[in-house]
């Protein structure tokens, strides 16, 4: 559905994107995560046809949009990170204005607008003026506007940024409903946990390069390999340490009372064999396993590594 290959962008001498590549399949919700300044907005603006790239290619639904910048406008629904609305217009008029932009007028426009406002739970706000809406409501209005013409992909830049928990929840609900009806989406955030609940696939970008991408589980296991094994030794601590010291795959050993942290390079099977060996030495162990990363420490770990 969407293929971004080796995308490059410079602002003067500053390299903002240094070969970004990712793939989004149809109906997928792709979480685009990275710290501030990583290049998320730049990538998304290029995809929305608002910024010229300096290299690489972006293919959406079989169209090379960098070569055919006019065509992108039919394919992509773009929600910027920061945007304004017009004063002196009501919600319904705002929607009808954009309907007319897509050549939809009159009764048909009214019907379509109400339909899309309903999708984002904004129908009851139809007669409010747009400039008095809250940020969360404006974002959902903007989303409804994107949906007016059934784009192939929705590109949303930090849709949850600056929202209170309630608005964030509502936004998430709307996105989940869109995913249920098969809308393909690219959603960015600088907070991984914000996306982990709803995204099918996550790509992490850092300083203009993709660091990892895959399903959340894949990323977790990939990163967990570098985590220490943590075990709680109830009895036979010395014996355990002596045993561990002789193993080739063990890189570091540190202890904290009963807890032993082992830097270990081996596979899952090696982990199991290590445990078996320890037990064979008569060491009593009450807990054993790789330290699990929570999302935030995982994110920190990934983005630090690249420096």
């Amino acid at each position: 559905m969407v293929d971004v290959v080796d995308l490059k962008k410079n602002y003067g001498n500053f390299v903002a994107l240094n070969g970004v590549s990712f793939h989004i399949s149809e109906g997928e919700m792709y979480g685009f995560v990275g710290p501030n300044g990583a290049g998320k907005t730049t990538t998304m603006k290029i995809m929305a046809g608002l910024l010229a790239a300096d290299g690489g290619s972006v293919e959406i639904d079989g169209v090379d949009i960098l070569r055919h910048p006019k065509k992108v406008k039919q394919l992509v629904g773009y929600m910027p990170d920061f945007f304004g609305v017009y004063d002196n217009l009501k919600v319904s008029e705002y929607m009808e204005f954009f309907a007319s932009v897509y050549g939809i007028y009159g009764k048909e426009a009214r019907k379509r607008c109400q339909e899309k406002l309903d999708v984002v739970h904004m129908l009851e706000k139809e007669d409010s003026f747009v400039d008095v809406l809250s940020r969360g409501q404006k974002q959902r209005l903007c989303l409804a506007r994107c949906l007016l013409y059934q784009p192939k992909i929705l590109v949303m830049d930090e849709p949850a940024f600056g929202l209170d928990p309630r608005a964030r929840y509502e936004m998430k609900e709307v996105l989940r409903e869109l995913m249920d009806v098969g809308v393909t989406m690219l959603v960015s955030s600088h907070i991984l946990s914000e996306l982990s609940e709803i995204c099918t696939t996550v790509g992490i970008i850092e300083a203009g390069k993709m660091v990892v991408s895959g399903t959340l589980d894949e990323i977790m296991t990939k990163v967990n390999q570098s985590n220490p094994i943590v075990m709680e030794v109830v009895d036979g601590l010395e014996k355990a340490i002596a045993f561990l010291k002789e193993k080739e795959d063990v890189e570091t050993i540190s202890t904290n009372e009963q807890k032993v942290y082992v830097g270990f390079r081996g596979s899952q099977k090696d982990e199991a064999l290590l445990l078996q060996g320890l037990l064979g030495q008569g060491v009593l162990i009450s807990q054993y396993g790789r330290a699990e990363n929570n999302l935030e420490s995982l994110f920190m770990q990934i983005t630090e590594k690249e420096e």
């Binding site: 929305a48 046809g49 608002l50 910024l51 010229a52 300096d54 290299g55 290619s57 960098l66 070569r67 910048p69 006019k70 406008k73 039919q74 992509v76 773009y78 910027p80 920061f82 945007f83 304004g84 609305v85 017009y86 004063d87 002196n88 217009l89 008029e93 204005f97 954009f98 007319s100 932009v101 897509y102 007028y105 903007c142 506007r145």
Partner: protein
């Protein structure tokens, strides 16, 4: 042809109480002027009407409308695109299939339309002057045509600077600057030329001729179009006739063209400039230039 931006702008403008108030004040003032002028001038006696006063009054309306346009259009237009940038609404417009030309034309028509509403709304009051005579339907049509050309001309200058600059304030300053420049440049050139001529002269100063290129400059000046329209409409050696570059003592070729023709040529030329500026603005606004050649991926393989 439907222009979504135009309809949206008009709807938002119509909602501003300022507009209705402005229309009301403008026409009330005009109506009072008409009544006052009637009472004071036209009826010298019950049977005698001073046509020259009617016409003079008429010319003041034209000048007043020129000034109204000259002050309001640049400030309206300068904010048209830069304002959307500042309010962060432009990006969204640019991601829609609507062409940048549609956006520019919609903005231009909306702002000049608002102003032309003033002009059109004043037609009934101006028409009262009809009743007395001295001014024909053609004169009123001419004023409206001139007002449209003028509004579109300086409007396109405004929208051009508005597309260039990120901040409305810069667009406003440069637009006013450019308008003043086009309006007065030919006059400044003329007076400098005249001054140089006088300083090198032995005292017989009535032989100064306007060089032909200066007349060409005059064609771009809305002020010169205005005074040539006035001198076309109003006979006699009035002050507008005297300052009209397209009319005064030019060398023989230029003189063979009469004021009415100059006026048409200058309006056409100004529309042409406006068209160029509008197309240029549309091009500037295009975020990713379609005409630009992109790098070739194949090249890497070679």
């Amino acid at each position: 042809m439907k222009n979504p931006v135009l309809s949206k702008e008009l709807r938002a403008t119509a909602r501003r109480p300022r507009l209705v108030l402005g229309l009301f004040v403008f026409n009330t003032v005009l109506a009072f002027m008409v009544v006052a002028v009637f009472r004071l001038n036209f009826y010298i006696s019950a049977s005698e009407v001073s046509y020259s006063n009617v016409i003079r009054f008429f010319s003041w309306i034209e000048i007043a409308e020129f000034l109204l346009l000259a002050f309001i259009v640049p400030s309206l237009m300068a904010g048209s695109i830069a304002g959307e940038r500042e309010k962060q609404t432009l990006d969204i417009l640019l991601t829609t299939p609507m062409s940048t030309l549609t956006i520019i034309v919609g903005k231009l028509l909306a702002s000049t339309g608002t102003i032309l509403l003033f002009i059109f709304s004043s037609i009934p009051i101006m028409s009262v002057v009809f009743l007395i005579g001295g001014v024909g339907l053609f004169d009123i049509v001419l004023i409206v045509v001139y007002a449209c050309v003028f509004a579109i001309y300086i409007g396109s200058i405004g929208i051009f600077f508005s597309s260039i600059f990120r901040r409305t304030i810069f667009a406003t300053i440069t637009t006013y600057g450019a308008c003043v420049f086009t309006c007065v440049l030919p006059y400044v050139a003329y007076w400098i030329g005249y001054w140089i001529y006088l300083s090198g002269d032995d005292g017989l100063s009535d032989g100064f001729q306007v060089p032909g290129w200066l007349i060409l400059l005059g064609l771009f000046s809305p002020v010169d179009s205005l005074v040539s329209m006035l001198s076309y409409q109003i006979a006699g050696n009035t002050w507008y006739r005297q300052i009209c570059l397209l009319n005064i003592n030019a060398d023989s070729f230029w003189q063979s063209v009469n004021t009415g023709e100059w006026m048409c040529v200058s309006m056409l030329l100004q529309m042409l400039v406006a068209a160029v500026l509008i197309l240029a603005s549309a091009k500037i606004l295009e975020p990713v230039k379609a005409g630009k050649k992109h790098w070739k991926i194949e090249e890497k393989n070679v």
